[in-house]
């Protein structure tokens, strides 16, 4: 039998039973579409997290007080309190050649008041470097001026949300707000950047780090953000940061340095694994579709018993009959996969409409993988019915009407 004739014969056989064929196509299409769409969601989650991390700033290292690692050995007899990270520690880091910028952050919470309005917000004490390190943008005015970091200037930069609540549509520049017990002059407003890693930048006020030390009467920093000179400089920066802090802290390694890239890579790995797991779950639906194909093909074989007997009498060897039914299930899964890809394209557009902020993206490997799995399941599950057809006894198949 010529290949083209085979394909024609089989597709005619399939279109001869539209309901049955349609149902199988639907099952296959849903399976393929769910694999593609679920992997698209997983990939979207990965991209979302990645964009969150890059919005933090580039080539970033984060220095936290205290060690987060546990090393084996007996617990210390005397309680070990990690030393605080201080402003002096932060400034010492600027000596490293691998480090480009250093932004200490001191965090506290205080009421911010203007006129009769008052609101409790997060206060960040930092330096002029924060703007560049954290990739922030100004909406109005300017950021904390560069200069001597130990100078407690009474100026502040407001997040857009707190600005709106205290001043409404008016310009706050040059006006005074009360933060805790002190008065600060507003010199700028942050641009709307949205949320990044759970901290709403719109709901903060930024003041010079020395002012924050005085305001909260404490010198311990929340963390130090360090920007390395480049991607290649990150490991060296990490090394020198640990060395400098160790020297300043009497030989104790009592800080943790997190590199943004390492963090990102970890999340990336987790989310990729998650995407694969989700794809695996979706692939089960493809397996179910395969079993459906098998059942329906078995019914087809039973319904077409007389035809099989006839084709045998006309001189088709068992191998040819098996091939006919295999080609039928292959064509079915091919059409099902195609329909599934079209369906997933539609679903993809719909998701983009519904959640414009979420970066849904189909990973390159997923449509071919889904289609491939569909074709393979079609063939595997088509094998049993095809063999049954090939083994049929022509005399008994023909004796029925």
């Amino acid at each position: 039998m010529k290949p083209l004739d085979m394909v024609r014969f089989c597709s005619a056989a399939l279109s001869g039973y539209p309901l049955r064929t349609g149902l199988m196509l639907l099952a296959m299409a849903i399976g393929v579409a769910s694999v593609v769409l679920l992997t698209a969601l997983g990939e979207g989650a990965r991209r979302y997290v990645a964009s969150q991390f890059t919005s933090l700033g580039t080539h970033l290292l984060i220095v936290l007080p205290g060690r987060s690692e546990t090393i084996g050995g007996p617990p210390p007899l005397l309680g070990q309190t990690p030393r605080d990270l201080t402003l002096a520690d932060a400034m010492a880091l600027e000596r490293s050649s691998a480090v480009r910028r250093v932004a200490p952050i001191l965090v506290g919470s205080a009421p911010v008041a203007s006129g009769g309005l008052e609101r409790e917000v997060t206060i960040l004490g930092s330096t002029a470097e924060l703007l560049a390190v954290r990739n922030l943008f100004m909406a109005q005015g300017r950021f904390i001026p560069p200069g001597e970091v130990t100078r407690a200037e009474a100026v502040c930069v407001l997040g857009y949300k707190i600005k709106n609540e205290l001043f409404g549509g008016q310009s706050p520049l040059g006006r005074f707000v009360r933060i805790g017990e002190r008065r600060f002059r507003v010199i700028g407003v942050m641009a709307k950047k949205g949320e990044s890693l759970g901290i709403d930048m719109g709901d903060t006020a930024i003041i010079p780090v020395a002012s924050a030390e005085a305001l909260f009467n404490r010198s311990s920093l929340f963390r130090i953000l360090v920007q390395a000179h480049g991607r290649d400089a990150i490991p060296r920066a990490r090394q020198t940061i640990l060395e400098i802090i160790r020297n300043r802290h009497e030989g104790e390694d009592d800080v943790t340095v997190i590199t943004q890239d390492a963090l990102l890579a970890t999340f990336d790995r987790i989310l990729k694994t998650l995407t694969l797991a989700v794809a695996g779950i979706a692939a089960i639906s493809l397996g179910v579709a395969g079993i459906l194909i098998m059942n329906v093909m078995l019914i087809a074989v039973a319904q077409r018993t007389a035809e099989i007997g006839l084709v045998k009498a006309l001189g088709a060897p068992p191998g040819q009959i098996q091939l006919i039914f295999l080609v039928e299930s292959f064509l079915l899964s091919l059409a099902g996969a195609a329909a599934g890809l079209i369906l997933s394209a539609g679903g993809f557009l719909l998701m983009g409409r519904l959640f414009p902020a979420f970066p849904v993206a189909v990973p390159q490997w997923s449509p071919p993988a889904a289609a491939g799995v569909a074709l393979i399941t079609g063939l595997i599950f088509g094998l049993l019915p095809a063999r049954r057809a090939a083994r049929m006894d022509p005399v008994t198949s023909l004796s029925r009407r």
Binding site: A13, G309, G319
Partner: protein
Amino acid sequence: MIHMEHIQRVFQVGDEPVYALQGINLSVASGEYISIMGPSGSGKSTLLNIIGLLDRPDEGVYRLESSNTTALTDEQQADVRRNKIGFIFQFFHLVPRLTAAENIQLPLLLAGVDPKERKARVAEALERFGLAGRSRHRPDQLSGGQRQRTAIARATIMRPAVILADEPTGNLDRGSGREVIETIETLHRDGMTLIMVTHDPDLGLRAPRQIRMLDGGIVFDSRGPA
């Protein structure tokens, strides 16, 4: 052409063996026209199936054109069926979703004959069996006689040496039955060997050579014992 020696076919029904054919000896020369008659259960259809290589004997030797068919594999038997044997069934066995022309074409399709040649041969067959205007009709749009003529066209499209007909008029009214039998007899006149199973004595008596079967054995052969 056909030579059978001591053919035995046993079916197991429950615990009891049923002898469908016992010790059949039969020789058929090329170009003969034979009718096989007998009551139902006499083994005539089983004999026809074995001649047509749809069934294998449990014992005995069956030679078709001097090759021993019992030694052939399934694939080789399929090959012999395709090229040397044409079947005509009581229930036509047309594929319902295919048109008359497509049904006639089916053996050529399975054999992988070129589309161009297929078309020519099908057109010729349609003409010959008076189906020219019906080529695009599906079986359910054809009369009984037309259906059987389509089946005859299909059985002869590969130009086989032997035509095996199992009750070819059993499902037709008298008029179209006569028409169909006359068509089949033209095949014989064209030199094909024709073996027809029937329980209709009128039909059986038309054949120059008649065989009567009973309980799995040949009880009468008008040509004399083989």
